[in-house]
Structure formats: C-alpha cells, structure tokens
Point group: C2
Amino acid sequence: MESHTPFSSGSIYIVIFVTLSTQSLLMISKKTKYALNALVHLAKKFEQGPVLISYISEQENIPQKFLEAILLDLKNAGILASKKGKGGGYYLIKPPEEVNVADVMRLLDGPIALLPCVTYKYYERCEECKDEETCGIRDVFMAVRNETVQILKQNTLASIIGKESVQK
Amino acid sequence: MESHTPFSSGSIYIVIFVTLSTQSLLMISKKTKYALNALVHLAKKFEQGPVLISYISEQENIPQKFLEAILLDLKNAGILASKKGKGGGYYLIKPPEEVNVADVMRLLDGPIALLPCVTYKYYERCEECKDEETCGIRDVFMAVRNETVQILKQNTLASIIGKESVQK
DNA sequence: ATAAACTATACCAAATTAGTAGACTTTTGG
DNA sequence: CCAAAAGTCTACTAATTTGGTATAGTTTAT
C-alpha cells in the first residue's frame, strides 16, 4: 500500500501567511504619520522650490487624495505654502529647525495626553474621577505627558533628518 | 409701543451649556480607566474579602455590565479572583506593589507605543516606511515609548494609593 | 431550594478613521 | 489668450472600534 504522509510527492500545499494589522488605540493616526513623512520630504528640499503632490504621494507611498487634505491642513497651520498652476506644488515655509513633532501631532491628532485631565490646552475633567486634587492615577499620566511632550518638542524636522544620516 | 428688547421682563430664556467630550485618538480607553479605578478600589481592601461588582460599580461610577467584563479580563489575567454565590464578589490576589499601570494598559488597550514599529511585544513594520534602520521618525517615537513604559512600570496600585494620601 | 452573585453570548448605536469621487478654481507657459 | 496643469472644496462611504445593553444561564452559600 502506498504511503500518504504529508509532504509526499504529488500533493500541493498552500500556505497562507496572514498579517493582521494591529493599529492599537494609543497609536498616532496614519494622517500624522503621513504628515511627518511628507514634511521630512519637503524639509530635505527646503528652499528649492515647490514639489508636486503627486510626486510626494508616489515617493512616500501616500494615497494622493488623502495627502492633498493633509498638506492643506499643514498649509492652513502656516507650516507649508503652495503654488498653483504649472510648475506649482507645495513647499516648506518654516525652517526645518522650527517644525517640531509635537506641533504636527497636535495639529492632526489633537492633544498629546493619555487622559483628558492632563492635557495642556484642551483640559477637561475626568467624569468618573471623584477628587482630581488627590487622584493618584492622574499623577502617573501627568508624568507621562510631561516626558512625552518634552521629547516630541525637542525633535524637529531638522533633527530627524540629522538622525537619518547616521548609519547604525 | 411696547419695547421688546432681549432680556425684557416677561420672557423666558433657556441657556444650554454643551460640554463636548473630546476623547482623542491617543488617549487610553474608558475600559482601562475604569479598570484602574476598580483596581485601586480593590487594592485598598486587599486581603479583606470579596467586594460586590454592584458595589464597585456604584462607588466608582462604572456601568455595572461594562465593569463585569473588565473584572473578568482582570481575573483571566491572574490579577483578580472571584467568589460566586451569596457573600461573593471580586478581590485582588496579587499584592498591590506588584500590579503596575503598564501591565493593566497592555491588557486592556494593547501595546504601549505611538507607532507599530516601536512596540516591544507586538512589533510590526510600518508599511510606508522605506528604511527602518535609518528612520529618524522611528527614533523619536522609540524614545517616547521607552520613557513612557518606564514611568508606567514604576507606578503600581500601591504607589498610586500612596500618592493619594498626600494632600497637595 | 432559592436567591445572590458571577459568567457567557449576542447584540447594537455612535463615532472615528482612512479613504474615494468629482467638480471647481487658479495660474502660467506656449 | 487659452488650455492644461495643479491645487481646493464638498460630499460621500466602508470598515472598525468603543462603549455599552440584554438575556440567559451557572454556581454556591445559607
């Protein structure tokens, strides 16, 4: 009798790898990630004239229509400017040293804090909290927020580009 | 002719204050917040027998059915245990010094990181990233993650209760 | 045995994200 | 001066997640 072990010749095995994308609650949005990539791209071409949306979209792997909305936000925030018509595009108007990650995140994802009661500009009381003054949980997340904002403020488009050139 | 200015007598004005709740993308879920409050509650009664779900729900302002699901998660994670029937309830089995905020957050909200490529246990490549080795953006968020996890690990139920007793 | 208490399963509504589609306006090179 | 290139505006949509609720059990102490 013929043996039919797995992997015997004559059989076809199909192996499927499933990668489940686990964008968790606490992570920054694609919008912010795209924005940072686009900004770094534009920072590398600072003062070299406008760059096409379609070109950034292609180079940075960002859906064009989505990118258009993002660049518009950044323009309205005074970080970028645009030129219409032939030969137009987007370009950075703030020096790369002056655009920090915290500002970009706040613009696109809102306040940087793990609890509404520890945000800087958009403070809001925690509904279920009984006494904020003595809330030990709040203290923990206040510490996290302070450290986080400090790091994100220190890092600008210029410093990001600086890090990229250092091979590890 | 009678004058009908606003605020003249005889009119009723209804003023509505709308508080829009701005739970932003980056914040922890209510689930985690509720879990922390419930755990602190139970930690204060460590080794004093089981506490009713309904009592915790009432005291901590947590919808009972939602709380039941949360406590079950914490039980399955080995932090709490329960006793059924009359005189039953939930109680902490790990000492309050051994339950830290990072573990609770990871359990209920998933990985603590602002980018999938800087998580510790659930690492995932950023799709749009071209070269992770030299990615300057990654470096920034790696630094944030490390600081955040360090702070959250340092803080336990015991240390939170300790902070609460200090009046500010 | 019975009622208190936890457990399991299955829904559901609202909000948010990550887009897409398409029409419109502005500008400039030829 | 006009046509095509390029940015802008408005509206829609599909999928996912959160924050629940409802109902029907099962277990256990008194």
